[in-house]
Symmetry: D2
Subunit: 360 residues, 4 copies
């Protein structure tokens, strides 16, 4: 009810402030008897962590995850799986300058309005450090769906600022995505994106972009009619990620400019006489339920609000002040957001996969 | 769990097939002692109903709502409010031609895959007729929020196909929206939209478009951190509407092309010394919580899949057949979707308004 | 959230005031393709209805159920099943004498305290007429569990006032239970119970009693650890029935007076080499999860508060008045509560049966 | 959904196996700005811990709680509060003898049946050590309700085996309850109870008993109609505690033997002209909603299944074996269950207190 819970059957409860003792998540509802260890989680956490390349923040976080419950001798027990990352040196820095300031574009003001109190040490619960819990939980879902039914989650950077990748989604592989630090499988465009990010960092400014996700090999039948359409739950999952401003599935906003005769995907038979569609404008989902085609969607990220340029803003006491972010920050979160999109997609699909078992 | 339920506190359970006996909704969690009668509901249902103008389907539905419970002598009791519309003449037409066919762009295939059975009489549970329940429930939320805290929900047609309205959101009124049958407050553009819809209808084709929503006078503090951000719940609400393919809040997808220094909304004081923002790229929501500015978002609708042109498709027996929709259908649902967007926005906000009372 | 919803997967939303237009229930989450028609529901409703015998109220209710959605051609669709009973002649009687009075033992005062408004026409939402919705929904669960896995729900009257049945649970059958109007399979005791009820009716007083339930042939593995133990959910289900004051499973309160060496049920093998227990003090549930033995529990009902004797009470205006119930009322609800206990047991078990499919 | 979650608004998610790394709980939905520190939690944990007296197990657990999130500078933030107790030396003992044995009266068999795997090191998730999480979370609820509205939770030992306390509930105080190690405010009876427990311990056997709870000074209006009656939710809360077999509210099972004219509580005015009842057979709850009188209920505990006597049982391989529990165990959990009943009562009431704020 208080917003820290996601999923109905594969169910996450996340906790922790960015500068508190720990960030963590309880994953409840994971099937028993499934192989799971720390490395499975850390592999994904490493894709999210800062300082992994020249274009991400040079802040170091040696985020080591611990599994506190739910796993015995490398097998899940069917009981809640608790994953935790203890924050290091959370008191080492002085954040008192932030105590009374409302940073533009951040949640400082709205948390203060809602709770009359907030953890002002660097974002608290609103910090993007919270997404660590999502990536940890998502690692379980990704592993399960890959091993049990061969699904893969292939998110990548489609656009940084106004630089757009040119892609053939058929040939998309995780290797191509991971082949460069911006996670754009179109190598030539990747080079331009990296250049722009470096240049913008020097200016003390930040950039937004678009992450695209392709979910390979989904089963049909996932999603529930009316309110819990798979597309609706994916939208919620993505829009719950920090800095996300837009979501579209399949042809998305462009579908608004197509005619019915253009947009409808014709049903045909594949070589195994299974029904598929000739085109995939629907993004793999019809009437909210997966039809077995690849599920494809885009997620728009705003430029991070923390910038090195001077900005005017207000204090809690309603005084106008100059504000300029200190320290090291990502000029563009999009490359690090790629594994977060993967994680939230996998969590959402895993939940619907288990939901669908009830009736099948 | 089966997808027919929406909202945690202001909670809807919707039911009914398009050609069954009735469509309806139970609204649970509405505060007691609030004035409510049938006219309050029908006023909104009339905005949604077919045959309200030349550009909507000429199918007639004399949808009269009944309040079966939860209201006594014109006051809500705090008990579940049941709203029902009985379907007229649901057996009068022969739908047997649809029994074994998978219509392109519809949920026929996916329902069959999921349930091994489906109501083939015109869409069943996947029919857009189900949105009637949403509009009925939304009417309660809109009335409550207007009377108690002066909120208004002003959705309108922003774009039909490639024809885009030019607007000043400051002067937006419900009268301007309702002044033409396409519900576009930019009168000149409205004329062009109507023409295009008529022309497309004659071609037997259909059009998509974009509905924009402005929520006026929201309180601050609505929305919960992390997973139940107000923006995430609005996204889910909108993406759950039939034919919706995209959602964006505030600057949305365009934010991806802005720099942080451009996108951040500066905090300033208004004449009453209350904190507001100079721009509203965030769409009234920061870190998932409303900041008191207008909440603004766009919703992309695909062209309706039911078209009068011939299409190739498959039967349940996997035979290729020609299919051409019979009867009268909307060439463009966007004008009738406007009240549905209002309804789902109001339901979502009402739920968060009541949630926020817990802690305040 | 407002208390009208029960079950997580096999999910009921109930609605209706006793003297409003209708009482009904939406059953969501019922598997598709299952045979269901009106008679299946009415068979159980008839067991609950008033005026079925000399010892129940002579009030007549010709409760005919309608299935408004979720079923086509006698098969469930997987969509919400709406069951409704329209109230007849709900305005025929004058209830205005009850408008300002707080009847002893009823919810008049507490509804007024909670909602500042109440439907004073005969109990409103707090009326036991609401249990009609439970019995209707329970009929679906009972039919499903019987046909799919051979489970049977055998509730019966174990005690009326201080008259206690003597029973051998092994030979319990539904025929024996239904063989007399008090639903006590011990015939001799039944005669005494009926006599006492008639005598008490003449005195204008009312009687309580105990309903015992035996669930035959449950699968093992139902129930979730920690908070959603099957025993805990059965307790909630029973305690939510009007007039229920106590619940005990297996040896129940008597277990408090046993020693561990007496109370522990020894595990043995049956002739098919399956593990069973020699005794069943646990009532078929260990650590909250069914072990495959019969599930047995008792439910204590208070005497109905509506009596024909004069009672002093208070009005809304805090005046002391004499109050004496008018009309025809049950002197003892226990016999009619038997099908309600069956229904709530079946609903609870059905929910856990479907929950357990997720992980198996 | 998997049973580790309790409460709708004041919401617990519990985790941890008895011999895993840690036991803990996330408390979500606690209001912000409330004073909270470790001592508030440990005060209640100390009441639950083993080895606190001669009659409890001499097993030592130095359970120190840590607050990992949700509190800054001694104030709650409105974000999830994570409480954790790390298990000490969880590998020090050899539990391998339990690996293949199904202990009578325990969940070994049912966990194995449900999950096909179980943590056999001393009970795993089914261990009563899990109640530590409940007591920790309950400490928050008890503190909040005491400080904000003056409520107190006074549970005590009413009966051990067949020894019953004689009590005047009017004079009940927490001091009297805590004045002896069996937590029975009737001192003379307490002496007898302690003697019997010691004697039974020497025999290697165990005892059950009854915990009674009096909730002082509750507000009226708590509880929701129909399914979420306060009495129903209390029943579920109590029946979810390990070893509980029965629950009754107010006159409980004895109400079954009263007549309506005896059982109905007459409404009268107190000296402040507020409505109260002359008797309290209802246990403070009418039609599921609190009426402002003390809330009173009893909870029956079976004797703990772990005993020092030899028992025959079965192994996973279906062989009959002799089993005798090793180590130190409580001969009677009832005294240590008292703070658990307090905790679950407070958690349930706190949830309904916050729920009731929505509509008031």
């Amino acid at each position: 009810m208080a917003g820290n819970n996601f999923g109905k059957i594969f169910n996450l409860t996340s906790f922790g402030e960015s500068h508190g003792k720990a960030i963590g998540v309880i994953v409840d509802g994971c099937p028993s008897g499934f192989d799971l260890n720390k490395n499975d989680i850390e592999k994904q956490l490493n894709r999210r962590k800062p300082n992994q390349s020249q274009i991400t923040t040079s802040r170091k976080e040696s985020d080591k995850v611990e599994i506190l419950s739910g796993v015995m001798n490398g097998k899940t027990l069917g009981t809640p799986i608790t994953l935790i990352v203890f924050n290091k040196d959370q008191k080492s820095k002085d954040y008192s300058q932030l105590k009374n300031i409302f940073r533009p574009g951040h949640g400082d003001l709205t948390y203060e309005q809602k709770y009359k109190i907030r953890d002002w040490r660097g974002g608290g619960r609103a910090s993007a450090r919270e997404t660590l819990a999502r990536v940890a939980a998502g690692a379980i879902a990704q592993k399960y769906l890959k091993e049990k039914i061969g699904m893969r989650f292939l998110s990548f950077t489609k656009q940084i600022h106004n630089i757009k990748a040119k892609l053939n989604l058929k040939n998309l592989t995780s290797e191509k995505i991971e082949s460069n630090e911006v996670r754009c499988p179109d190598k030539k465009t990747a080079v331009k994106m990296i250049e722009l990010i470096k240049k913008t960092a020097q200016e003390g400014d930040s950039l937004g972009g678009i992450v695209s996700c392709v979910i390979k090999n989904p089963p049909s039948g996932l999603g529930e009619p009316v309110f819990d359409k798979l597309s609706a739950d994916l939208a919620k999952a993505m829009m719950s990620i920090n800095a996300v401003k837009g979501f579209e599935i399949g042809a998305g906003f462009q579908a608004a400019e197509l005619k019915g005769s253009q947009n409808n995907d014709r049903f045909i038979l594949n070589k195994n006489k299974k029904i598929k569609t000739k085109t995939n404008n629907s993004g793999g989902i019809l009437a909210g339920i997966s039809n077995g085609q690849d599920i494809t969607f885009n997620v728009a990220f705003k430029p991070v609000p923390t910038i090195g340029k001077n900005q005017k803003t207000l204090t809690k006491q309603k005084k106008v002040v100059d504000f300029k972010a200190q320290g090291r920050h990502d000029p563009c979160v999009v490359p690090r957001a790629v594994p977060i999109v993967d994680a939230m997609a996998a969590i959402t699909v895993m939940d619907h996969f288990l939901r669908n078992k009830i009736y099948s």
